[in-house]
């Protein structure tokens, strides 16, 4: 019986899963060679530009005409700064890390707005599900914490990184390469891959359930399953909103941890 229904659905509506290129690659709108998606301006670039502009506009509006008693946008801006200060900087860097709030808040909001377009109608695509954005952010964090290390420890920073104190001398043969590898290569790589894979996985999950719901909607008997799969799609959308926020938070707090590690040599 079930096999017959399945066969009927197969010939009639059917479930056609789109190839992965259709999920993440977007046509070039202008710029670059036609058909060459490497340098053209497409949806991902638009989302990145919008994320930058919205972040800048938000804090421009919040900081304009500051008053002792905040209201409107200033309230929102103060909540954001307070959140980054209390939940990220004080936890990961400690007292004295307040001057890194601007960098961390920019990172946080750029990542968050790049993520949240995953569930925004009209976009339906997280900009961070393409490797270019997370890779750039990872490299930016690497450059930033190395610069902080060089500023606070001088050129000795590169020695301090490879030679943590309290290790027996012969073990440095093992420890030093591992430390250099984990600090300068694994850190930006894992930052980028964590963000990228989370957003790509969420995007594919939403697409899978969306395609499934459309296929079930046009199905005859199996359509009863729609009662289960559509609430699941709604729940997953809510879950992805949470993931968007959490990934931005994790990115910011890891950047803060790396900056805090570069501030003072280990002892």
């Amino acid at each position: 019986m079930l096999a017959a229904i399945m066969a009927a659905e197969e010939s009639g509506g059917g479930l056609a899963y789109p190839p992965i290129e259709n999920l993440v690659e977007w046509p070039t709108w202008f710029g670059g060679e036609l058909g060459d998606s490497l340098y053209g301006f497409n949806k991902i670039a638009l989302i990145s530009v919008l994320a930058t502009l919205v972040t800048a506009l938000l804090f421009f509006l919040a900081g304009r005409g500051r008053k002792m008693i905040p209201k409107g946008m200033q309230n929102f801006g103060e909540i954001c700064v307070d959140f980054i200060d209390k939940q990220v900087v004080q936890q990961a860097i400690g007292h004295g890390g307040e001057k890194y709030i601007p960098f961390l808040i920019s990172i946080f909001f750029f990542v968050f707005f790049g993520n949240i377009t995953e569930v925004l109608p009209g976009f339906w695509m997280p900009a961070n599900a393409r490797m270019a954005n997370p890779a750039f952010l990872g490299l930016l964090t690497l450059v930033f914490f190395v610069a902080v290390g060089l500023k606070h420890q001088g050129p000795k920073y590169f020695i301090n990184v490879g030679f943590p104190p309290g290790v027996p001398k012969p073990l440095y043969i093992l420890v030093t390469p591992i430390e250099y590898l984990s600090t300068f290569i694994v850190r930006p790589f894992s930052l980028a891959v964590r963000l990228f894979a989370n957003m790509l996985a969420g995007h594919i999950l939403l697409v899978t359930f969306g395609v499934l719901c459309i296929a079930l909607f046009s199905a005859s008997l199996l359509g009863a399953v729609l009662l289960l799969s559509f609430p699941m799609l709604v729940a997953l959308t809510a879950f992805e909103v949470m993931v968007s926020f959490l990934q931005a938070y994790v990115f910011a707090i890891l950047a803060a941890v790396y900056i805090g590690g570069a501030l003072h040599p280990e002892h």
């Binding site: 891959v193 964590r194 990228f196 790509l200 996985a201 938070y249 994790v250 707090i253």
Partner: protein, 95 residues
């Protein structure tokens, strides 16, 4: 009857597997295994981590903020392994 025909066609197709098909099937199997195996360790790890964090928060509610931050850090590090498995899955399946 139609089921028999389907089985017969399937058997015939199996015999006529070409090298490319074989490679694709191997890649698909490997992709499934890669993600499945990569999910085991981080699953256990995150479960243990969050369980212990909840216990710590319940025992000492005033330290909840600190524990929560550290918990998210730990989750981020542990989760990275599963995500690398997912990337390997994508690479095997689609690249």
């Amino acid at each position: 009857m139609s089921t028999l025909a389907t089985v017969a066609t399937f058997a015939q197709n199996t015999v006529e597997l070409e090298a490319a098909d074989f490679k694709n099937s191997q890649a698909a199997t490997g992709a499934g295994l890669a993600y499945g195996l990569a999910a085991i360790g981080p699953g256990i790890g995150i479960g243990y981590l969050v369980g212990q964090s909840v216990q710590a928060m319940a025992r000492q509610p005033e330290a909840a903020g600190m524990v929560r931050t550290t918990m998210f850090l730990g989750i981020a590090f542990t989760e990275a392994l599963a995500l690398i498995g997912f990337v390997v899955f994508i690479l095997l399946k689609f690249a």
